[in-house]
C-alpha cells in the first residue's frame, strides 16, 4: 500500500499564533484516512496549509513524493488534490450544472467531461432533479453532496474533505456515509470529521490531532479498541464509567 500524500513536520502560524506546531502523517492510496481531534486542534488549518491557502512556517507536504512547497493552490488542485472546504463550498449563485462544469477541464476534453457529468447524475440522483436550479436553493445535505461531486468530476488523485457532516440531520449523515463508502477502495480521501460515528464507519486509517500536532495514527480498528485515546483526545466518555457499571 503506497502513500499518496505525506505531511512531514508541518508548522503554520496565523498572525502571531502558532496554530500547527508539528503535524506529520501519511495518506495511503485508495483508502479513507480520517483526521480527528477536538475543536481547535488544527484540523482545518492542516488542510488549508496542505492546499496552499496558508504558507507553512516549516515542514513539507508531498504528493507522490513531489513537494508541494510554494505551489499555488490552483496548481495543487491540477496536480490531483481535490478540496471540499468546510463552509461556502459551492457557488450559490450558479446552477448545479454550472457548479459541476467549473470543475471540469476545458472543451478539449468534452467527451470525458460529459461522461463525468453522467456519472455524477447516476451517483447523486438528488442533484439530477435540481440540475438547472441555483445551488443556493439546495438543502444542507444536498449542498454537501454537490460539493463532493464538484471535486469528484475533476478526477482527483486524492480528496481532502473538511467536516462534511457539520450541521446535517442524522438522516443526511447516514446518506453521506453511504456516498463515502461507495468511494472506499477507489478514491483516496483525507476526511476531517468530528462525528466519530461517521468517522469510524467510513475510515480505514485515522490520524489524531491535539493542540496543533499529531498525537497518534494507525488503522481505524486500533482507535476503536483504544478507549483511552478516544477519551483523552476526542472527549468520548465511556458509558460504563458514567453509569458506574462494574
Amino acid at each position: 500500500m503506497e502513500n499518496l500524500l505525506e505531511v512531514d513536520s508541518l508548522a503554520t502560524d496565523i498572525g502571531q499564533f502558532h496554530i500547527l506546531t508539528g503535524v506529520s502523517f501519511t495518506v495511503p492510496e485508495q483508502q479513507i484516512t480520517v483526521l480527528l481531534g477536538r475543536n481547535g486542534a488544527g484540523k482545518t488549518t492542516t488542510l488549508r496549509t496542505m492546499m496552499g491557502y496558508l504558507p507553512p512556517r516549516s515542514g513539507q507536504v508531498r504528493l507522490r513524493g513531489e513537494s508541494l512547497q510554494s505551489v499555488p493552490t490552483w496548481q495543487i488542485v491540477r496536480k490531483g488534490v481535490g478540496y471540499v472546504p468546510e463552509d461556502a463550498n459551492i457557488f450559490a449563485n450558479l446552477s448545479v450544472a454550472e457548479n459541476l462544469s467549473l470543475s471540469l477541464p476545458g472543451r478539449h476534453h468534452r467527451n470525458s467531461s460529459n461522461l463525468a457529468l453522467t456519472q455524477v447524475q447516476e451517483q447523486f440522483p438528488d442533484l439530477r432533479e435540481h440540475w438547472q436550479k441555483p445551488a443556493g436553493v439546495l438543502s444542507g445535505g444536498q449542498r454537501q453532496m454537490l460539493a463532493i461531486a464538484c471535486v469528484l468530476v475533476g478526477g482527483p488523485a486524492v480528496m481532502l474533505i473538511d467536516e462534511p457532516s457539520k450541521g446535517l440531520s442524522p438522516l443526511f449523515v447516514e446518506r453521506l456515509g453511504d456516498v463515502l463508502l461507495t468511494l472506499q477502495g477507489s478514491t483516496t480521501i483525507l476526511l476531517v470529521e468530528q462525528n466519530f460515528y461517521l468517522a469510524s464507519r467510513v475510515g480505514q486509517q485515522y490520524v489524531l490531532m491535539d493542540d496543533g500536532k499529531t498525537v497518534a495514527a494507525g488503522p481505524m480498528h486500533e482507535l476503536l479498541a483504544a478507549l483511552d485515546l478516544q477519551q483523552r483526545y476526542l472527549g468520548i466518555r465511556i458509558l460504563s464509567e458514567e453509569m458506574n457499571i462494574p
Binding site: Y53, R78, F91, L94
Partner: protein, 288 residues
C-alpha cells in the same frame, strides 16, 4: 414635444458612452472588490489615442481599435505592476488608483498640451436626418449601437463562456475558484484589461461625439461613471445599463434647460434611488 424626443435620444446616446465606461468599472469592482479611481484615465488615453490615430491615418476603425488597445494596455500595466501588490488593502488601492489617474493625466499634457484638441466625426458617420422636428444624428445612432453591441457581448461572455462562468463564480467566492483549479489571478488581470479596454473604447467614441478631447475629460467622465455604478448597484452589469440610461437622459434634459445644473441632476437621481434602495437598483454582488 420634438425637443423632448431629441433630448431623450441624446440622453440615450450619452447613456451608451456612460455604459461603456461604467460597465468596466462595475465588473472590476464585482470581481476584484477594487474601487478603481484610475478608470477615467483609461478613457482619457483611449480618447487621445483615437483622435491621434484618426488624424494620422484617417481610418476610424483603427482609431477605435487604438483606443481599446491603449485602455487595455494601461489596464494591464496598472493591474500587474501596481494593483497586484495591494489587493488586500483598500486604502492603498484608493490612493494608488488616484495616483495613477493624476500622473497619467499630467503625462498626457506633455505631448498634447492643456488645450482641447479637435476630433472630427468620420464622413461615413456624419449624416443627420430631420424627421418632422426631430433630429436624428447618425453618430449618436452609431454610439447607441456600440453600447448595445457591447452589452450583448458582455452578456454572452458572462453566460455562454467558461471565462464568464469563472467570473461569476469569482464574484461570489474567489478562494473556492482556486479550489476548482482555476488561476483566479489571471482572471483578475483579464477582467481589469477588459474593463480598461471598454473605457478606452468609450474614450475613442467620445472624441468625435463631443467634437474635441481635453485632459479634464477623464476626471469628468469618471464622476458620472461612479454615480452610475453606485446608482445601479456595485458589481451589477444590468444596474450599469439602467443607471447609464437614467443619468444620460437626466443630464441631457436638465443640461438643455439649465446647463449648470446637469451634474447636480445626476447626483440628485442617485440620491433619490439610494433613499429607496440603499444598495442601488440591482443590489450588490450581482453580475449581469
Amino acid at each position: 414635444m420634438s425637443v423632448v424626443v431629441t433630448l431623450i435620444f441624446n440622453g440615450l446616446a450619452n447613456g451608451a458612452l456612460y455604459f461603456l465606461m461604467s460597465a468596466g468599472l462595475t465588473l472590476i469592482f464585482g470581481l476584484l472588490r477594487v474601487i478603481n479611481f484610475a478608470h477615467g484615465v483609461f478613457y482619457l488615453w483611449g480618447a487621445y489615442a483615437g483622435v491621434f490615430l484618426y488624424n494620422e491615418f484617417h481610418n476610424f476603425l483603427l482609431a477605435i481599435l487604438g483606443g481599446v488597445i491603449t485602455g487595455a494596455a494601461l489596464g494591464l500595466l496598472t493591474e500587474r505592476g501596481l494593483m497586484a501588490k495591494v489587493y488586500q488593502d483598500p486604502t492603498r488601492q484608493l490612493l494608488l488608483t488616484m495616483g495613477v489617474l493624476l500622473v497619467l493625466t499630467e503625462l498626457l499634457k506633455i505631448p498634447f498640451g492643456r488645450d482641447p484638441a479637435g476630433a472630427t466625426i468620420p464622413s461615413m458617420l456624419a449624416k443627420s436626418w430631420l424627421l418632422g422636428h426631430f433630429v436624428l444624428v447618425e453618430y449618436q445612432v452609431f454610439t447607441l449601437g456600440m453600447g448595445i453591441l457591447v452589452y450583448v457581448g458582455l452578456l454572452l461572455l458572462l453566460h455562454r463562456t467558461r471565462l464568464g462562468l469563472v467570473i461569476r463564480a469569482g464574484v461570489a467566492n474567489p478562494d473556492l475558484v482556486l479550489a476548482r483549479g482555476v488561476p483566479i489571478r489571471r482572471i483578475f488581470t483579464a477582467m481589469f484589461m477588459l474593463g480598461a479596454g471598454l473605457a478606452g473604447l468609450a474614450g475613442a467614441l467620445a472624441g468625435p461625439y463631443y467634437g474635441s478631447v481635453t485632459p479634464d475629460m477623464g476626471m469628468n467622465m469618471q464622476l458620472n461613471a461612479f454615480i452610475i455604478v453606485v446608482l445601479g448597484g456595485l458589481g451589477s452589469l444590468n444596474g450599469s445599463v439602467l443607471g447609464s440610461l437614467l443619468i444620460g437622459v437626466a443630464t441631457a434634459v436638465v443640461g438643455y434647460y439649465a446647463p449648470s445644473l446637469a451634474v447636480l441632476a445626476a447626483v440628485l437621481v442617485m440620491a433619490m434611488v439610494l433613499v429607496v434602495r440603499p444598495a442601488g437598483l440591482f443590489g450588490e454582488k450581482e453580475v449581469a
